[in-house]
Amino acid sequence: MALPQDPAPKFREYAHPEMIVSTDWVAEHLDDPGLVVAESDEDVLLYETGHIPGAVKLDWHTELNDPVTRDYVDGAGFARLMSAKGIGRDTTLVLYGDKNNWWAAYALWVASLFGHPDVRLMDGGRAKWIAEGRPLSKDEPKRPTADYPVVQRDDQHIRAFKDEVLAHLGQPMIDVRSPGEYSGELLHMPDYPQEGALRGGHIPGATSVPWARAAAADATFKPRAELEAIYRGEAGLAPEDDVVVYCRIGERSSHTWFVLQQLLGFPHVRNYDGSWTEWGNAVRVPITRGDSP
């Protein structure tokens, strides 16, 4: 049984209010059967320093990726992972993490590749929970394992591959990296290859909208009207557009994917997870340098 939606007025403005909950809602429902809260951070040690009581850890680096091929886990791997965490197909899965929910949004996007029916983000993530003085625990939760079915990963609808991006050139694209990465002028430190890419710049035609612009100072998502002003007003996107978003490895762009698809309701948004570490190393793909698309 899915848990109820968070009725907060801010969320009701969003296209998919069922995809987001507040820290209040999590505190209220923490002990409800059918709910698993999972923390997914950029810093792989942060969970161990203290997490929401009962929350499990979901490590993007070691758990969501195939250890050999550059790809996500397959259906069997995802089923094993979810089962071990005590997450069933009918579990309400609430994700949260550090840095404006950057990595939590990435984990949510991967869960969406497997069509997990009820997955939500906790607005404001770890920073807001802590800022509100809510409890943290270092105890490792002991959850009974679940029996998650093997579900085929769907790479068609919300994921884009390099060849698809090549075919998409000329259509709406958002580069969510920092302005320096976008222009290709990011400082190249002596002795250290920058970002693991051989070429700097962006995919021709891509508009620059750094991902964190969608977040307010307290790490929550901005209200719908402000998001519309950024993505529809400034970036000129229309809801019916077929949009591709990308960053360096697809993590920051998962955050923007969430904003466009779940908060603003754009039906066709794909995350190009190969992103700049693939495009900036690929032979003979077009690249634009400078501040303009």
Binding site: V44, L45, T62, Y192
Partner: protein
């Protein structure tokens, strides 16, 4: 196979002991060990705490990290690090370098192999970018040691 065999480089005894500690425990405890290091990073002395501008930023670390290096006239090296509590991995790496290198003499610090972080067995647990951050810290420490010693000789 001895741990020294990995990468073909020899570590100073203190770093070797740290590397052995990491390699002797299972993966899960390895992260716990890194967490303990992060908690043990010494606080900054007043002369840096009040003057962050006297420290060198390490932008390769993904999260803010500052370091300072002092070389005494007798070549003893002192290291100082500053990283926020919400970046325990970066703090852990800084703390390992502090525990392994602080108080050694300049030649011993300079002899530390650049690929030292690879000997901790963390490759499968921590992202490559983070390990590169640790290598960057070490490279900057060595450069500062070289620069300061060069100045002392020239002066």
């Amino acid at each position: 196979m001895s741990p020294q065999g990995v990468g073909g480089a020899t570590l100073n005894p203190r770093l070797q002991e740290i590397a052995d500690d990491f390699r002797d425990v299972p993966d899960k405890d390895r992260l716990q060990l890194l967490l303990e290091f992060s908690e043990d990073l010494p606080a900054l002395p007043e002369r840096y705490a009040a003057h962050r501008d006297r420290m060198e930023p390490v932008p390769e670390c993904q999260t803010p990290l500052f370091l300072a290096v002092e070389v005494d006239p007798d070549d003893t090296v002192h290291l100082f690090f500053d990283a926020p509590a919400e970046s325990p991995t970066t703090r852990g790496f800084a703390s390992i370098l502090h525990a392994g290198l602080d108080g050694l003499d300049a030649d011993e610090v300079l002899a530390t192999p650049a690929e030292f972080s690879g000997q901790l067995g963390l490759q499968d647990l921590v992202s490559p970018l983070r390990l590169r951050g640790m290598a960057a810290m070490l490279a900057r420490i060595k450069r500062q040691v070289r620069d300061q010693r060069g100045q002392a000789v020239a002066g």
